[in-house]
Amino acid sequence: MADLRIKIGSVDFKNPIFVASGTYGYGTEVSELADITVLGAIVTKSVTRYPREGNPPPRIVETPSGMLNSIGLANIGVEAYIKKMIPLYEELKTPIIMNIAGSTDDEYCEVLELTELVSSNIVGYEINISCPNVNAGGMEFGVDCDLTEQLTTRLRKLTDRLLIMKLSPNVTDIAAIGVAAEKGGADALSAINTLVGMSINTTNKKSNIHYGYGGLSGPAIKPVGLACVHKIYQAVDIPLIGIGGITSADDVLEYVLAGAAAVEVGTANYRDPNIGTSIIVELDTLLDQNDIGSVPEFVGKVELGS
């Protein structure tokens, strides 16, 4: 048996397989189908200050080896999250990482502050910065180094829990954004969120996503996720969580070799909510086969030609 334990910041996780925000609800929906207690961590759906209705349908569509989504951050809002979800998590053995979204720095801060007020076994916060900043003319937080650093700095002051900034791939230089988040005091970075994409029904000439653009996820984006993780790994010293198109233990090892200390499984959960657990078992075998004692010895060890 390989040692699957990993550490991010000061938090120990029993294995590096997490489930990604927005692809596992609030974590409790599929307990009938999946052994969620086995997961390294559950990252819950983005929570905002107030409840959000989300976007009109159609919200999702399949694409070659992937899918587009534009859910519009539909969520119950932080107050209901605290009231209804956090108590459920008390009984869970699985560490919970709360994902937070907002449209101003203040909004992110308020969500975090309100959550810090109550006792909970949330181990950390993942900050979704692929959100339009209303104070910056709708430009996304995650595309700008200054916006990212400022937001990180403010959030850092509000919590001692793990602070993970989740980076967007829709930028010229993702490593620079990573550096900004590191400067702001992030404990770790996760990457990638979805790529901006589009899909059109040529019969009725309508976009297959109500508002036109959606976020591309799934195996199609795995090469992009790997390149992003590898670039950020070269630029920062804090641990990375790899995301994008993971469906197997081999995919996990690719991300680890590229520089990830842990990973999040996203779209694949829709096919099989128990896939995270299967990957953990598969990873154990794979590491044994390759005579690798533990995951950390592997991080960032990909060899490039020179």
Binding site: G25, L33, P51, E53, P57, A74, R271, P273
Partner: protein, 263 residues
């Protein structure tokens, strides 16, 4: 709700572009609650198509469940190629059911196209339970029907081109079927234009109606928030976290006609 490896028992063309597949699926059959519920099929293991495909349950018989499907794109095409004996990865049973009131009423079951399965299923359940029911099925043309127009047996067919049964949409056929019906309640499933027409008809004639709606599904189990339908009123359901949209995979697929906005 379970992921189960079912075994295809039979898979055949029953009308123009319409197929019926039977499979043994003991776990899904055991948990099955009634017509309206559906399964999510993993048609092939390749990740080229990451998502499962939703299909209503058309019948349950012991360990065996059936689906009735139309070929739309690649996954339904692949379904037609599966032979008896093939293993098929399914997730179910999912969603709610047509509601069955104990009061005396006549179930006016209206179906068409990809919406045949739950309606035929409900018809079977009504018949088995001695519940009065009439069946109204619509199609574009006669070759798309696979049962006979028998008004005397309360089976009414409609075709757009008049080649079988009553000419026109399902509405004239519904009108016809209502002639000898007391306390009708419409239970419908079918393509959007049909559901819209049924909705309007039911509202105009103040007939209670339940409709089973379709939407593009990511997960089928409430974790993607992809499958929403717009609500008329603000009866918040737990699952959709909000007032305006409802999750078809958990709150539905069956709704009171007056509660949802189609298309």
């Amino acid at each position: 709700m379970k992921i189960e490896i079912a075994t295809v028992m039979e898979n055949k063309l029953i009308a123009s572009n319409l197929w019926k597949m039977k499979m043994t699926a003991p776990d899904v059959a055991e948990q099955y609650k009634g017509a309206g519920q559906f399964i999510q099929i993993l048609v092939q293991s390749s990740w080229e198509s990451p998502l499962r495909r939703p299909m209503s349950i058309a019948a349950v018989d012991g360990d065996e469940i059936a689906i009735i499907y139309k070929v739309f794109g690649r996954m339904t095409q692949i379904l037609t190629e599966l032979k008896a004996g093939t293993a098929l990865d399914i997730l179910g049973p999912l969603g709610n059911t047509f509601r069955w009131d104990d009061n005396e009423f006549t179930a006016v079951l209206v179906g068409g196209g990809v919406g045949l399965a739950p309606v035929l299923n409900m018809y079977g359940e009504c018949t088995a339970a001695g519940q009065e029911a009439v069946l109204v099925l619509g199609a574009r043309t006669s070759v798309e029907h696979f049962i006979d127009h028998k008004p005397q047996n309360n089976v009414f067919l409609a075709t757009d081109d008049g080649t079988t049964g009553i000419a026109g949409t399902v509405i004239p056929a519904i009108v016809k079927s209502l002639e000898n019906t007391s306390k009708p309640e419409i239970l419908a499933c079918g393509p959007e234009p049909m559901l819209k027409a049924v909705q309007e008809f039911a509202a105009a004639h103040q007939i209670p109606a339940q409709i089973s709606v379709e939407s593009y599904m990511g997960c089928g189990v409430g974790i993607c928030q992809g499958c929403v339908v717009k609500r008329v009123n603000g009866n918040v359901a737990e699952h959709s976290y909000h007032e305006k949209y409802s999750l078809v995979c958990i709150d539905g697929p069956v709704y009171q006609s007056k509660d949802v906005i189609i298309g």
